[in-house]
Symmetry: D2
């Protein structure tokens, strides 16, 4: 499966009094990973929304495995797959870029809806994106 790699640094604003990152930041980093995967694949998510296709999270599972503090360089590894005819899934691993030690892992499942909130099937161009990816394996 296609794995997209993106690096970012933990911001001061993302640290907490325990000295590690605050837990909710993981979901924000996972979003950055998805955004950069889709840009690299040629279909930036901003264009999905401009076309009237939104992909809100409906479910997520998160495992926190290690610490990461201010200024640590992280590697976000993101994978993309079809969960059902109308749902997409992204799997993410976050690790310290220097040591490859896992910081967190998780996945998100996304419904596809139009701006009125009506469920949409996976459009052909997203399907081709996933199929093309699978053919490349």
């Amino acid at each position: 499966m296609f794995i997209h790699i993106h690096e970012l640094r933990v911001r001061y604003s993302e640290s907490d009094r325990m000295g590690t990152f605050y837990n909710s930041r993981l979901l924000e980093w996972m979003e950055v990973g998805r955004t950069e995967l889709l840009r690299a694949a040629g279909y930036p998510y901003i264009e999905w929304e401009n076309k009237g296709l939104m992909a809100p999270i409906v479910e997520s599972h998160l495992k926190f495995k290690g610490r990461a503090g201010y200024d640590d360089l992280l590697r976000i590894e993101t994978r993309f797959s079809r969960e059902s005819r109308a749902r997409l899934r992204f799997d993410t691993r976050v690790c310290l870029a220097d040591s490859d030690v896992t910081v967190a892992e998780g996945w998100t499942i996304h419904a596809l809806i139009n701006p009125e909130g009506k469920p949409m099937r996976i459009p052909e161009w997203v399907d081709d994106l996933i199929n093309g990816d699978e053919e490349n394996e």
Copy 2:
């Protein structure tokens, strides 16, 4: 001048590795103060936006004077005034609720625009709100 009081507790997510609140949270607390002042005055800001009147910040000044950590109870004191024919001003003081020790002070100036971004004059009902306030002094 009318002073609106609102209390809130510092969230864990608002703390940082220095053990105090991260600086940007002050702007978020000041927004909570404005929201609650306008609700108390009978004109909730959500209704402004529903009527097509938005009040984005155009300028702000902030002074950080003391520490406030996770679970500290804060008192947000907010005042409301007219900056110009088309701009509003809110002044805020944040202090520890128990000791009245000042944590931070600041102000924000807000333009009034419609959803297309066109500048709007202060509408009569906002003007009455400020005038009524001044008459009550």
Copy 3:
């Protein structure tokens, strides 16, 4: 099981361009729910940390079921249980306070560690807190 109720309003800073709350805010609201449950139970979490007992999240599952936008009043329902000899679990439901419509549901599992990161067993006073709760059922 003991259910703790806490109400809060969606902040402007918690909204996103889709007009609902940004997904990571759920974890922040769940933390507020835990904080207020433990305060109501007589053992504020700030005192846990002051005693050298920390309870970082190790795992979480989240389901997003409905929309909630700026200024909506939310009810956070939080439950507390023992996951294992060394782990605690909190279950949370977030709903619109006025209509009881579910916005999101989720749980978090927390390890107990000391400031050096060493795993700790559930201390007697936490155990009593959970047992007392179960006896009250």
Copy 4:
């Protein structure tokens, strides 16, 4: 004066219901600018704190001049100067990377303190950093 340039993209989590970035994110981006300026200058701020020197914000002024939404590429321009014998100043301009249109401008003033909160004078190595910078003009 030395100007440090750093680029970043607006995250979905940084957008708000008005479709632009939420105002408090500006302070977070300004912090990223400071962090990267100091890294480029050879004195990463994480090393300051590891040496026991902290530089919390004591005052800030912000001007919001334009919109920036999800996925916009921003250029953060940061300058560094001495405010007084014990205070540092950073000036920041944020613009759209493609068009150079200004999104926001602001400055922050930082006190220097040790971990106990005691004010510290600007250490020689910070002074040399600023002087070296001025000599390079």
